[in-house]
Symmetry: C2
Subunit: 155 residues, 2 copies
Amino acid sequence: MRDNNEMPGHLARRFQQIAVAVFLAEVEEAGFDLTPVQYAALSAISTNPGVEQVTLAGLIAYDRTTITGVVDRLVQKGFLLRHPSSRDRRARELKITEAGKRTLRAITPAVEAAQRTMLRGLTAKEGTELMRLLRKAIAAGNDLSRAPLRNAELR
Amino acid sequence: MRDNNEMPGHLARRFQQIAVAVFLAEVEEAGFDLTPVQYAALSAISTNPGVEQVTLAGLIAYDRTTITGVVDRLVQKGFLLRHPSSRDRRARELKITEAGKRTLRAITPAVEAAQRTMLRGLTAKEGTELMRLLRKAIAAGNDLSRAPLRNAELR
DNA sequence: TACTGATAATCAGCATGCTGATCAATATCA
DNA sequence: TGATATTGATCAGCATGCTGATTATCAGTA
């Protein structure tokens, strides 16, 4: 059998494992309690106020069933408001609160630091190249997962 | 805020998400029901018969508390045996069964196919380079997660 | 308008993956 | 030896992330 280090799937799992650990450590160090997934959701809602849950899911490539719990917890923390949409009574519109905005601003340096830390073994050029290759592989595989990335305008 | 596509953490999550989806699809297509994590454990135990759980965890960089459930399910499926160690009564020695060996052999082509599929957007050279960069980044960040990779001999 | 199909959100159920705790057994050292 | 620390496995609790189902609503069409 091939060595683990020759298996892209294993390497993907390890890199993601480290990325999450680094993110949580940096964020906790900064005095916050927010997961990578919660951060991505909060950030996307801040950029797209009033977005519906299903659109949000597409924006950051979450499964639609996962988003319910993530939004629940962000609402619980007082960072989000979830209203029924007036346009479509099935949908829920998401808006960031003032507390959410403050947290998002305050946490940004820690998030940036985490992104640097998870690439700390690479030169700047290698880091750029890794991101390019990941983007390319992801683009080709986008529709292979149940939660593909979707452009908001295309919906 | 930085675009998601410039965040290594986001790219790591997406790539891992696609890798798991591809793995499960290929394996199911081949008529098997095994997760990436279960496959890695089974494979490692096959190569290291009689390994203890904590050593196994280090070999494939699992958290020690995760391994209990994974091994439970593999025992349930009849692919593993878990005996108390005679050397150390706290420890459990893991051995692969004949059924486990057969499944491991039979599933290998699907696993290999999955590794190719998750890199299908890249040239061969790019795929190799992506794996090199991931290995390098992982090596530098190994100790940042609670479940670092550990060499069996070094324990 | 009534029917049909699609869609948004949610849910139950299951598998990772973590934190922090507990328990039993082992190792270390005064 | 005896006290202390460490270690292997497990557990409770929580958050992702998926499959497949359900419910309410909407959209298109006969």
